[in-house]
Symmetry: C2
Amino acid sequence: MALQNIFDNETFFEGYQQLRAREVNANNLFEIPERFKLLPDLKGARILDLGCGTGEHCREYIEMGASAVTGIDISEKMLAVAKEQNSDPKITYLKMPMEDLGKLEGEFDLAISSLVLHYIEDYKGVLKNLNRLLVPGGEFVFSQEHPLATAYSGGERWTRDGNGRKLHVNLADYSVESERDTTWFVDNVKIYHRTFSTVINDLIDAGFIIEKVVEPKPSEEILEKYPDYYDLFHKPDFLLVKARKA
Amino acid sequence: MALQNIFDNETFFEGYQQLRAREVNANNLFEIPERFKLLPDLKGARILDLGCGTGEHCREYIEMGASAVTGIDISEKMLAVAKEQNSDPKITYLKMPMEDLGKLEGEFDLAISSLVLHYIEDYKGVLKNLNRLLVPGGEFVFSQEHPLATAYSGGERWTRDGNGRKLHVNLADYSVESERDTTWFVDNVKIYHRTFSTVINDLIDAGFIIEKVVEPKPSEEILEKYPDYYDLFHKPDFLLVKARKA
């Protein structure tokens, strides 16, 4: 299986860093707060962060009381930043594709993953290995691009009125589960589209109990400040799931 | 709360009966087979059928080995047909809105509901009462209109090419959870749109464990016979859930 590592592409990495540096983006407004809301008490927890990127959340988990965090990522560039800016004696950074989780040894109380699972072809395999690494009752909290977003397979994503205002999403092939080529700073970023039912059923089949599902939408406060985020009522950008090892 | 009983409207009832009499429709091709696939072994089971309609499935559940079926429906007309065409000593038909489940006494091993929950405003209340009526480990299998279908709130549902072929669904306001007025034989049929996450989270909050979620799509065999059902790849018509009382 060819593993995807767009994050070490120079063009991508620069674009990505600039995006994340912006204070107002969908991650900061929706994905991050909703993910933190789903976390259990971290005191004393041994955490596995799948796709830890530049490690800022690894450090935050330690500050919240976690006893140890193992952050894995496929990108050398990301991990270099992580080690420079977010190192801590309680954090271990490992260069490892998520597809190699089978090689990891250890015991974790909690696994967290932010916006990387939609890059993974072998979702079932990752879940199976993850379930093995968690203690009984251990939790898994993750976010991914929403299935209504990963469904996109070309053409115009939105229909707009004469003023450019988004009227509706042009949704096609939602139930066709396949690799989608998309463009995000660089061409041919591969996303693996899975329907909502597959996301949930594969978790259950891997031995998880579903605890909560979240499709973030803007609060009135956010809408007042940033009215363009009304788009998220038409199509959520993110899907978050909290599940427990049965 | 005003309860909705379109099924006793003359115009609706005639249209509905004609639709159901057709052999080839989405219910027969997708909803019914997928619902039956989700059922556990019915031998000796005490079954509650929520929105039993004209009772043909109540009778089928008995033929499959159920020891007793209680069918409830809000429609007098439907129940009159049920009692005439599908009566059995093991079947009890009750005229009762689902919102009155709190008044029902009994103990059930399995609850089944086909395509009625999207007419119910108080989904949480129904689930809470249902959970009380099930034995521990009892199962709940239901179908409803898919959230991508109930999201529809007016305008053109599809964008078509010059030949009338459906290109994509025009999806708007998916995350706005509210009553939708729609037309199905008669005007102003009320549907309550809930997102996928609400459908799942309300079940969990009411004490259910999610076992399987199904968004039916056509097999190659069906597509070959009825190519128009490719539409279901763009937007599933149905959502089915199997859940167990925790």
